[in-house]
């Protein structure tokens, strides 16, 4: 039976781990006092029998990693709680005081820069949202968690928006005072909409942070790139349409803590082709009411990993870590290992790796038949529909990367499948590159195909030959610039330089409405970096010297994260257009970002000629 072999395997793994631990303890020359202090020994002198002491407690460095050995989370029973859909955010009739173009400082607005496109894209919908302390259950075996959530929800409420309908979100910072963060998190915030075509002052720029008691009006035009430039007459380039966005805190030096603490959510954008209704447009599975099993077949999923204090069961974060932090519990939409029930029909899943530092390679697994390959269709990268659906068996995601897919459960009626992460990652450096055999990874979500048959009017993705098509990328660049992600003396750098925490140093001046090529490379040895550029999507021109035609089809789409794998060299195509202002370019392993692996670039009327900024 599969179960028995699983336990034998587990015992074997534990045995290996124990042997490794023993070697490492000897090598480290730890005293009994040290070991007690680090929680590795019981008072009887026995090694604490936690599973492998966790990869982070004793890692390949041979010793207790950052933070004196991160303890393993207390046990949680897998798959005992229901999967939850995110709550759809509801607009308000009006805001009081009414929004202003110039920051309403007198009323307590923390914005410092006027809206540049308010009059052109006058909001037709208004929202009010607050960051606040909340006590939330992540698992019935753990106590309520003191998290920070938008509207007290983790993940935050789901925005369901349409192109052509500008909105304004009034964001109130109602976080607790200093000294009440429960151990990590900074109560100043700036909310980034990743990767909206949003003017700089509303983008969630890392230095435009505001304090508790203040508010900040974010103006989201919900417009296509090209709207003020290349495709002015048709309201922007439809080939630049985005569908799956997310929002998260971007506070300078504290992004990793604030996002880990709960300040993230998702944002969907529909239009007249990707309609959310499976009887119209591309006929992708319906979003419906966004809430119920019988109506919502378009389901966004936020993946995150966390760790909980073994004594209190309360979330902890290793804030004394320069590399990246991993959790030993996997959450989907804020719940540890939940169970989803589905109908035997097609679903659209929208996957997001919300970090802080883990990479995933996600498969569907049938644990009763590990050799069964379960294909599905990937339809987007980083929220942008591909040229056409591509049949795959897995999707790899670095932090902040997204993938939309269509999975047809009609072939699996009565069965149980799991979403399994099979990418091995032992520490914050990034994945080892090893893809584990089916059933040996992390089972994250249990999917039971036990709801009754129900109508499916969505298109078979195999028959969709084209979505929007991809934008032309043959235009000559005004300039080609190079950016190398590197590490020296434990410092994270881009082109050997650090982030300016005051955001005054603009490393790249981009001339508005021009094309640039950016060469984005990784020289940092055994590290991987999900490099994210705000505001504009890019297309690959080459990866490791090979043209996109020779790459997996999914890499031909538009993206906003270059997942820089070991020693990867890439060349990308950008068109910068429509708005002016400052944006960051940074590593989205948010621990690296918080340790200065970021730079500021700016779109303006003139550009510079710096090829190595």
């Amino acid at each position: 039976m599969a179960n028995i072999s699983k336990f034998d395997r587990r015992a074997e793994k534990e045995k290996q781990q124990a042997a490794r631990n023993r070697r490492e303890i000897i090598a480290a020359g730890l005293s009994r006092r040290d070991m007690l202090k680090m929680g590795l020994l019981t008072s009887a002198g026995l090694l604490i029998p936690k599973r492998g002491l966790s990869a982070r407690a004793l890692n390949s460095a041979g010793l207790l990693s950052s933070g004196g050995g991160s303890p393993a989370s207390p046990p949680t029973r897998p798959f005992v709680q229901p999967f939850t859909r995110m709550t759809v955010k509801q607009p308000v009739a009006a805001l009081n005081p009414a929004p202003t173009v110039v920051p309403n400082t007198a009323a307590g607005e923390g914005r410092t820069i006027a809206h540049q496109a308010y009059a052109q894209f006058t909001p037709v919908k208004f929202y009010e949202v607050e960051q606040r302390l909340t006590n939330i259950s992540v698992h019935p075996d753990l106590p309520l968690q003191p998290l920070w959530g938008f509207d007290g929800l983790v993940p935050g409420p789901l925005y369901v928006e349409r192109y052509g309908q500008p909105i304004l979100v009034r964001n109130h910072n109602n976080l607790p005072p200093d000294g009440q963060n429960g151990g990590f998190g900074k109560n100043r915030v700036t909310t980034h909409l990743h990767n909206g075509h949003t003017p700089s002052e509303s983008d969630g720029f890392p230095c435009y942070h505001f304090g508790r008691g203040q508010f900040y009006d974010h103006h989201y035009p919900n417009v296509l790139a090209g709207v003020n430039s290349t495709h002015k007459d048709v309201g922007g380039d439809i080939q630049e349409a985005m569908g799956t966005l997310w929002y998260h805190d971007h506070m300078l030096d504290f992004t990793s803590q604030n996002v880990y603490k709960g300040l993230a959510g998702m944002y969907l954008l529909f239009n007249d082709r990707d309609t959310g209704d499976e009887t119209t447009g591309f006929r992708l599975p319906s979003f419906g009411d966004g809430a119920s099993d019988n109506s919502n077949f378009d389901v966004p999923m936020v993946f995150a990993d966390q760790i909980y204090d073994p004594a209190s069961g309360i979330i902890v974060m290793d804030t004394f870590n320069f590399d990246g932090v991993l959790g030993d519990r996997f959450l989907v939409n804020g719940k540890i290992q939940p169970v989803m029930h589905v109908h035997p029909r097609r679903y659209r899943f929208r996957w997001l790796d919300a970090g802080p530092s883990r990479f995933y390679e996600l498969f569907f697994t049938d644990t009763n038949s590990l050799n069964t390959r379960i294909p599905f269709h990937q339809i987007s990268t980083d929220g942008n529909l591909l040229d056409h659906p591509v049949q795959v068996e897995s999707v790899r995601l670095g932090v902040a990367e997204r993938a939309d897919l269509i999975i047809d459960f009609s072939n699996y009626a009565g069965k149980t499948l799991y979403i399994e992460n099979r990418l091995e990652q032992l520490d914050g450096r990034g994945p080892s590159g090893k893809v584990l055999p089916a059933g040996q990874g992390n089972l994250i979500l249990k999917i039971v195909v036990d709801l009754p048959p129900i109508a499916d009017n969505s298109a078979d993705p195999a028959t969709i030959t084209r979505f929007y098509g991809l934008p032309d990328k043959t235009a000559a660049p005004r300039i080609t610039r190079s950016f190398t992600f590197d590490r020296s003396n434990g410092n994270w750098t881009i082109n050997g330089r650090f982030m300016d925490p005051e955001c005054q140093e603009v490393r790249v001046h981009v001339q508005k409405d021009t094309v640039e090529h950016w060469i984005i490379n990784n020289n940092s040895g055994g590290w991987q970096h999900p490099a994210h550029i705000h505001f504009e999507e890019f297309q690959f021109l080459s990866i490791n010297g090979a043209p996109p035609a020779s790459q997996p089809l999914v890499l031909n789409g538009r993206k906003d994260v270059v997942r820089l794998e070991h020693n990867m060299q890439t060349k990308t195509f950008f068109r910068f257009r429509d708005f002016e202002g400052k944006y960051p370019f940074h590593c989205h392993n948010v621990v690296h970002e918080d340790h200065a692996m970021m730079l500021i670039w700016e779109i303006g009327p003139t550009g510079d000629n710096n090829t190595l900024p």
Partner: protein, 225 residues
């Protein structure tokens, strides 16, 4: 059904016994120090958990020859800036020390009052208090910035607890490769972050503002407007 095979059980027991023996041996070496780990049942506060996990209360000696306890005397109730260095380092240390000297000048008389700077040696065998004293004198550092040394085991525990390690053991073993970051934070407010040691001093002062006391932060931000 969860089952452990006889063979695996033997191995697990053997491992447990070996570790027990290892610990007993270690305890023998520790004999006389008489430290008893007292586990209390009370759930600790987040601040206590941070102190327990990251700030071992080891005995250190300052470059002025003063005996101090890491948590009780150096961390508790303070804003701190921490880096690791050694006196004979010719890599990144001289630059970082010179940089931090400018930072100390910028922070003015708050250093030593509520902001403290700690440079902990990576080579306690060489860096005696006298060596560090001469180092501090050569750089003309002012009070409130302490160069710290101690028992090599304690210093190593401190380095690891504070996360100043390279995950590659070969690199980690070479002291000249050491992590050139600063860890800065406010202990009672549980605000901890980091930045490169070679960042411009005015920029480091800026980020330390992010963990400053609420009143000071407000005043500073008011001043910015």
């Amino acid at each position: 059904m969860k089952r452990v095979s006889g063979r695996n059980l033997v191995v697990m027991l053997a491992v447990a016994l070996f570790v027990g023996w290892l610990a007993a041996r270690a305890e023998g070496q520790e004999a006389g120090k008489g430290e008893q780990a007292q586990e209390t049942k009370r759930i600790k506060t987040p601040r206590e958990r941070i102190a327990e996990r990251y700030f071992p209360n080891v005995a250190l000696t300052t470059h002025e020859g003063k005996k101090v306890r890491f948590y009780d005397d150096l961390m508790k109730g303070k804003i701190v800036i921490i880096n690791f260095m050694y006196a004979k380092c010719e890599g990144s240390c001289p630059g970082t020390t010179a940089n931090l000297l400018k930072l100390q000048q910028l922070l003015g008389d708050r250093v030593g009052k509520d902001i403290f700077m700690y440079s902990i040696t990576l080579k306690p065998e060489q860096d005696t208090p006298e060596v560090l004293g001469r180092y501090a004198k050569a750089y003309k550092t002012k009070p409130g910035w302490l160069f710290l040394t101690g028992d090599p085991n304690d210093v190593e525990l401190l380095r690891r607890s504070l996360g100043f390690i390279d995950r590659d053991p070969a690199r980690d073993a070479v002291k000249s490769n050491h992590i050139g970051m600063l860890r800065y934070g406010n202990e009672p407010l549980m605000l901890w972050a980091g930045c490169p040691g070679m960042m411009q001093p005015s920029k480091i002062a800026h980020v330390i503002g992010l963990v400053d006391w609420p009143k000071a932060e407000e005043a500073r931000r008011g001043g910015e407007r």
